[in-house]
């Protein structure tokens, strides 16, 4: 899922400094799962915005709402029900939600309530770790299912850099050297020989270097 975390409050307060009516809009997707932008977080942020405005002696009203998703036009369209009732939207969805609202509501002032961090999963309760870089060209079948693009600090494609110590990355001893993990995994699944293959020079155009990526499924388009 997409991992996000709330932006520093003073950044958000600065964004909405001129707004008197604010729609604080959560998303029931990924940001609910990682406790960044679901119903509970909308309630908390709306309260903090009201308190910040009260402190500044400014009037404000907030509308608190949470959409099923903010990455589909059908759900974004439901914002229409609050037409004329807000000066600004603070979207607590990932950056996709903010973009979708900006695309579909050209006149709306829409601000991000969260920083979108990474594609990851729950490592333990309250901890999420990056697992995938969304680079568009998976090589996981060659690496025992462990991603060196996302999980190696240098995104190396042909083994470790030489900086790791005791299987830990040189950037931070809390981070496992993913190439050590890949090696161990390949040995365990009896495929150590696979590590001898040299990965060819990679075409990074699928990783965003070729401009915004677009996926089209002709079997699904109408």
């Amino acid at each position: 899922m997409i991992i996000a975390e709330r932006k520093p409050l003073n950044e958000i307060m600065d964004m909405v400094k001129d707004a008197k009516r604010i729609l604080v809009l959560g998303c029931r997707g990924c940001v609910t799962i990682c406790s960044a932008g679901g119903e509970r977080e909308v309630e908390i942020l709306a309260s903090l915005i009201r308190l910040g405005k009260q402190k500044a002696g400014q009037e404000v009203t907030t509308i608190e709402a949470t959409l099923v998703r903010q990455c589909d036009k059908e759900y974004i369209d439901s914002i229409d029900q609050w037409d004329g009732q807000y000066d600004a939207i603070v979207s607590m969805a990932c950056g996709v939600g903010v973009n979708f609202i900006a695309n579909l509501h050209p006149m709306a002032k829409v601000y991000p309530g969260v920083n979108t961090s990474s594609f990851g999963g729950s490592a333990e309760q309250g901890v999420w770790s990056e697992q995938c870089a969304g680079c568009g060209n998976c090589i996981l079948h060659l690496t025992g299912g462990l991603c060196p693009v996302a999980r190696c600090a240098k995104s190396l494609m042909n083994g470790p850099c030489g900086g790791s110590v005791d299987g830990r990355c040189e950037i931070n001893k809390d981070v496992p050297c993913i190439w050590q993990s890949i090696h161990d995994k390949m040995v365990r699944i009896d495929n150590a020989a696979g590590l001898a293959a040299i990965a060819p020079i990679r075409d990074w155009s699928t990783s965003g270097h070729g401009g915004p990526r677009k996926t089209v499924r002709n079997d699904l388009t109408v």
Binding site: P8, L9, L51, G57
Partner: protein, 140 residues
């Protein structure tokens, strides 16, 4: 002009048993400040961040939570959870330029204990010194 703070206390069932046994008059006789309003909860672990923030929105000058000792919570980790939520609000208050000391977490022994009155007095003194909540704007 003298300032009487509005302090909202959220206490778990076990740390606030004194309130039941002594009643409001008994507590006052012990020195429990009038400025503190007690909200009794089954467990402080159930407290939502938004509930504590709402207390400030509703005019509290100070808020505190009293739960079991961190390592002896009746419900195992309830008071530890509450402490984390109080910590999150302290951070948010600081971001808004408001004294984080306006909210506090206390871990108290269960049942009758003089500390139940003592922390209320401590908060009363602290909030009286800090003055009215900056969230009230010009209304106070």
């Amino acid at each position: 002009m003298p300032f009487t703070p509005n302090i909202q206390a959220f206490c778990c069932h076990y740390t606030s048993q004194q309130t039941l046994a002594e009643g409001p008059e008994g507590l006052l006789a012990d020195g429990f400040p009038k400025s503190v309003t007690i909200h009794r909860l089954a467990c402080t672990g159930k407290l939502e961040v938004s509930t504590l923030l709402k207390a400030f929105e509703d005019g509290a000058d100070g808020v505190y939570v009293a739960g079991c000792p961190a390592d002896k919570c009746h419900n195992l980790m309830g008071s530890q959870r509450a402490a984390k939520r109080v910590g999150a609000i302290k951070k948010a208050l600081a971001e808004l330029g408001v004294e984080p000391e306006r909210i506090a977490m206390y871990h108290l022994e269960r049942g009758f204990h003089p500390d139940f009155v003592k922390v209320a007095q401590e908060m009363d003194e602290r909030i009286t010194t800090l003055g009215p909540s900056p969230f009230q704007g010009g209304t106070k």
